[in-house]
């Protein structure tokens, strides 16, 4: 049976369903008995969902002008190579 420390070290693997079945079983048994680790894992899950919704998660916006400027730069770079 894993310790609380083991639980905290592998909780992402548990949530991402990346533990082999026997480890998953030990994990599950520990969580059934340990209210602290249940809370810990629930809070990790909440943390992951919160990261995904945080302002930092927004993909930076790219304006049409910026796109055009990059395309021009790309064209120049291939011309240089050819020339």
């Amino acid at each position: 049976m894993p310790s609380c420390k083991d639980i905290t070290e592998h909780s992402s693997d548990y949530l991402d369903r990346n533990l082999p079945w026997w480890k998953r079983m030990g994990y599950w048994l520990h969580l059934a008995m340990c209210v602290h680790c249940r809370r810990y894992v629930d809070q990790l899950k909440l943390t992951i969902d919160t990261i995904g919704k945080s302002p930092d998660a927004t993909t930076p916006n790219v304006s049409p002008e910026e796109i055009q400027a990059i395309v021009e730069k790309m064209k120049r770079s291939t011309k240089n190579k050819d020339g």
Binding site: K5, R39, I51, G52, D56, V71, M74
Partner: protein
Amino acid sequence: MANPTLPSDDELIPRLLANDETSYAQIVAAYHGLMVHLARAIVGEAIADEVAQEAWVAVLRALPKFERRSSLKTWILRIVSNTAKSRLRHESRTVSLDESLEENPIIDPARLKPNAHWASPPAMWHADTPDALLASTELRRCISDALATLPPLQRAAVTLRDMQGLSMEAICKILEVSESNGRVLLHRARSRIQMAIEEHEGQ
């Protein structure tokens, strides 16, 4: 931000190789924002855009040799990651993987008993949904600050996985780390954010 009109890699690659300007514009529109997001995670806000632009030139240069062992998107992001990492090295900043669990445990050892069970267990949080947590300006700043202080590769892993929803397989290819190292990077990043939220919420 994903561009639903982007043609498949099979269609796109020959057109890019033929220097088709419309295809350049399509692919830049589809991926540049994501590239800046990744570059920002590794080198920081100030030069992220510059790194992403540099990566586009590198993409065109390397495209004739692209062996299709991953999707075009994954391959482009790997070039961004490498461009960003070499920029860090130029500034003599380290991009290291090896933060051992002993030196930097997930949980402060003072919170555990000698038998590795909780001595000081997690407290209940006031809020129990992402929206409720993020309603607090102060907590949003805490999360942002915690993200900003993560080591570059941890920040890249959490950006690609939890913000951009990429698969772990793609992320490990992009960051050029093993599957197990990729998972460690991601878990460390998430744990640090969790601790930042706990400091704010769990009292």
